[in-house]
Amino acid sequence: VCQIGRYFFFFQAEDGIRDFCLSRGLGDVYKRQVSTQSTWGYFMITNFNFLLKKSCRRYFSHGKRYQFAKDIPSHTPRTKMNLFQAINNALDIALQTDDSAVLFGEDVKFGGVFRCSLGLYEKYGIQRVFNTPLSEQGIAAFGIGIASVGATAIAEIQFADYIYPAFDQLVNEAAKYRYRSGNQFSVGGLTVRAPYGAVGHGGHYHSQSPEAFFSHAPGLKVVIPRDCIQAKGLLLASIRDKNPVIFLEPKALYRNAEDEVPTEDYELALHKAEVVQEGKDITLIGYGTQIRVLKEAAKEAEQDGIKCEIIDLQTIYPYDIETLVESVKKTGRCIVSHEAPVTMGVGAEISAALQEKCFLYLEAPITRVCGYDTPFPLAHELVYLPDKWKVYDAIQKTVNY
C-alpha cells in the first residue's frame, strides 16, 4: 500500500483492506481491475473524519504462519500449558495485536466457566472483555454486527449444546453476508467459540457435537483442534481469517491436555488435514478428542501387526479432501470416527466423497465408527461413545474384509 495525497494505491490487494475501508465509510473502490494475475485498484478516501487508527493493524499484521505444529522450530520458546491456557494465550494475543478485537459472551468477564478468558478483563478492560445478557441469538448477532463494521468479534457460547438459538443468525446471516451483498459487506472478523463433546457426565446438554449442522452452511468455516498447540495456532488463524468461523473446543481436554506450547504469536493452516501418524494398512480419520481414541485403537491394532495411518481433519468445513485421498489411495482402507451421531454426520460426507474419488483403490467399504442415533445419554455414555474397542473392532473387520 502506498499513499499519494488522498489516494491509497495498492497492488495484489487483500480484500481485507477493501473491507476495512468500506466498513468504516472511508470511501469507495474507485477503480478495480481484475485479471487472472492480479487485482489492483485504488481508493479515494472521501471522509477524513475517520482516522486510520492502529486498528487497521489487524489487516497487515499476523503471527508466524506454519502449516502444522510439527513445523514450528524446536528452539522456539515454549511454556507448559493445558488446553484452556493455550486458548487463553491465543485470546490474549488476539486482543493485543488487534485493538478492534472484543471478547464477549456469558460469564466471560470473571474468566469464563472453563477459565478460557481468565485475566483478560483485568488486562483489557470492560469495553473489550465483557458479559452479555443471556441470549445466544443476541451473542451471535451482536458479533455479526461488530464484524460487519470491520472490527473483530470473538463470541463465546457457553456450551455448543446452546448454540441453536444462534443458528438463524449464523446460517442465514453470517454465512451469507458477503455473498448476498456482492462483497460490499462481510463479517470475516467473527469467530464463535464453543466447548463441545463428551466430558464423562454431561448428558444431553453438555456433551453435544454440532459440527455437522454448521458444515452444511456455505459461507461458514468449522474448525476443531485436537490438542494445545493446535488449539492456539488454529484459533489465532480462525480469528484472523476473513470469514466467519465456528471454533469448537474439546471440553474434555481443557484440563487433561497439556503440552509445551510456543509462547510466540503463531498461526496454523486452515483447510489442511494433518497426518498425525503414518501407516500403510488403513487410514483412520477423525478430529478433536477422537484423535486420542484413534491413537489408542491403533496401538491395539499394532499388536496384530496392523499399521494405521491417522489423520486429523482440523478444519471440518471446508475440509482437505486431497490429504485424505492421498492416504486412502495408499492404504486402500478407511475408517471415519466421531462422537456425533453416525447418520448424516461428518463421517457420512467424508465416506461419500472418498468412495467417489478412491473407489477402485478401496479394498473394503469405508466404515463409520460414531455415536448412535440417540440423544447423548448420561448413564449409558460408557457404551454410547465410539471408544477404542469399537474402532479396533472396525479396524479388524476392515483389514480382514
Binding site: G25, Q127, F130, P133, G145, I146, R178, G182, K242, P318
Partner: protein, 385 residues
C-alpha cells in the same frame, strides 16, 4: 420500595404520539417548527420520487417484467425524513421497506432497476430477489428476508462506533410484526445493557402481511416494550414528516452525547399490499384504507409548505415531477431488463473471501456440464467470460 397492596395492574396510560403538523398541515408544535425549508422541500420531492417509482415497479411486476416487488406506499415519511435527519455516514440496517432512505442518499433509479432485474450491473450479482438492496457506499446494509435479524446486528455495530469514539450511529428498521421475534428482544436488551450507539426505528404500519397489530401484541404497541428495556422511548406520528425529522434528529443527538441507544415507534399505515405476492383486500376493509388515505404523508407536508409559503413545488410542477419520475423509472427498467444476467462464474464467487478447493472443483464440474449439454440450457442472456 415495598408495598402491602397486591394489585394486578398493567400500565394504564398509553404513550402519546408526537406530532408537529396536523392532517391539513397546520402546526401544533411550534417549538419543533424549525426545520430548514430546503430540507423540507427535498424531503417532499424525494417522497414523491419514492411514490412514483413504487407505482411503476409495482406495475412492472404485474406485467411479469420483474419477478417480485414491495412498495412503501403510505410510509414514505418513515424513511425519507429519517434519512434526512441522519448523517449520511450513519449505518442503516434495513428490514425491506426502507428504499426511501436509499433514494434520499442518492441511490439512482438505474441502480434500483438493476437489482430488480437481477442483471450483471447489480453489484450484488443478481444473487437475491428484487428489493433486497444494498450499498456500502451509501451506508445501507444488505436487506435479508429473515425478519428482525438486523436489529441485534445494529446493536453490535453501534457498540463498535462507541468504542471507536465515532460520531456515527447504527440504525435498525423493523416493522411491528418483526418486533415479536426474539432478535428484537435480544437486540434491544444488548443495546441498553452494553450502551450502544444504536437507534431503533419501528414502522408500526398496522399489518404483518395479513396479521393486524392487535394480534401481534396486547400491550401498548412496541414503545411500551422499549420502556421495559430501560431505553429512551418516543412514539411518533410516522405520517408527519416534520415530526419524524425532529424526533430522529433529537434522538441522534441524545445517542451520540450519552452513548446510549434510543427507540422511536412510528405510527403509520401500510397503504399497499405487503408485497406482490399479497392481496390485502382479502383481509382488510375498504373503509379502513379510505380512512387512512386521508392521512397521507406527502399531502400533509405539501399542505404545510403551501400554508407557510415555503414550497418550491406547486401543483403544476408536482404533476411534472411525478411524470418525470415515472418516465425515468420506465426507461431505467427497460434498459435494465435488456442487460445481460451476471456471468455463470458469479455463482461461485464471494462465498468466502477466497475461492476454496471444493468450490473450484464444483465450478469446473458445472462448466464441463454446460459445455457438454450446451443445447439444453438457454444461456444467451448471461454474460460470457
Amino acid at each position: 420500595i415495598y408495598t402491602s397492596k397486591l394489585n394486578f395492574d398493567s400500565v394504564s396510560e398509553k404513550i402519546p404520539t408526537f406530532r408537529v403538523i396536523e392532517l391539513k398541515g397546520k402546526v401544533i408544535a411550534k417549538k419543533y417548527d424549525n426545520t430548514d425549508t430546503a430540507t423540507l422541500n427535498k424531503i417532499y420531492e424525494k417522497m414523491v420520487q419514492l411514490e412514483e417509482m413504487d407505482m411503476i415497479l409495482l406495475q412492472a411486476q404485474r406485467q411479469g417484467r420483474i419477478s417480485f416487488y414491495m412498495t412503501a406506499l403510505g410510509e414514505q415519511a418513515c424513511t425519507v425524513a429519517v434519512a434526512a435527519a441522519l448523517n449520511d455516514i450513519d449505518l442503516i440496517y434495513p428490514q425491506y421497506r426502507e428504499h426511501g432512505c436509499l433514494i434520499w442518499r442518492g441511490f439512482t433509479i438505474d441502480e434500483f432497476a438493476h437489482q430488480c432485474a437481477s442483471n450483471s450491473r447489480d453489484p450484488a450479482k443478481g444473487r437475491q430477489m428484487p428489493v433486497h438492496y444494498t450499498s456500502s457506499k451509501l451506508n445501507f446494509v444488505c436487506v435479508s428476508s429473515p425478519l428482525t435479524t438486523q436489529v441485534p446486528q445494529a446493536s453490535g455495530a453501534g457498540y463498535t462506533f462507541k468504542l471507536q469514539e465515532l460520531d456515527r450511529i447504527a440504525v435498525a428498521f423493523f416493522g411491528e410484526g418483526a418486533s415479536s421475534e426474539g432478535d428484537f428482544h435480544s437486540g434491544m436488551n444488548f443495546a441498553a445493557t452494553l450502551g450502544c450507539q444504536t437507534l431503533f426505528l419501528c414502522r408500526n404500519n398496522k399489518y404483518a402481511i395479513s396479521t393486524p397489530s392487535d394480534e401481534q401484541f396486547k400491550g401498548d404497541g412496541v414503545a411500551s416494550k422499549s420502556q421495559g428495556y430501560g431505553m429512551l422511548t418516543i412514539r411518533c406520528d410516522g405520517n408527519d414528516a416534520i415530526a419524524v425529522y425532529q424526533a430522529v434528529k433529537n434522538a441522534r443527538e441524545y445517542i451520540v452525547k450519552n452513548k446510549k441507544p434510543a427507540f422511536i415507534e412510528f405510527m403509520t399505515y401500510r397503504q399497499g399490499d405487503h408485497s406482490t405476492s399479497d392481496h390485502s383486500i382479502l383481509y382488510r376493509e375498504e373503509e379502513e384504507l379510505k380512512s387512512w388515505a386521508q392521512n397521507n404523508p406527502i399531502t400533509r407536508l405539501g399542505l404545510y409548505l403551501k400554508k407557510k409559503k415555503y414550497r418550491e413545488i406547486d401543483e403544476e410542477s408536482d404533476k411534472e415531477l411525478r411524470k418525470k419520475y415515472r418516465q425515468e423509472t420506465i426507461k431505467a427498467l427497460k434498459s435494465a431488463i435488456e442487460e445481460k444476467k451476471p456471468g455463470i462464474h458469479e455463482l461461485f464467487n464471494d462465498v468466502y473471501d477466497r475461492q476454496t478447493d471444493n468450490l473450484e472443483e464444483q465450478t469446473k464440474q458445472l462448466r464441463e456440464h454446460l459445455d457438454k449439454y450446451q443445447g439444453k440450457y438457454n444461456l444467451k442472456n448471461f454474460e460470457q467470460l
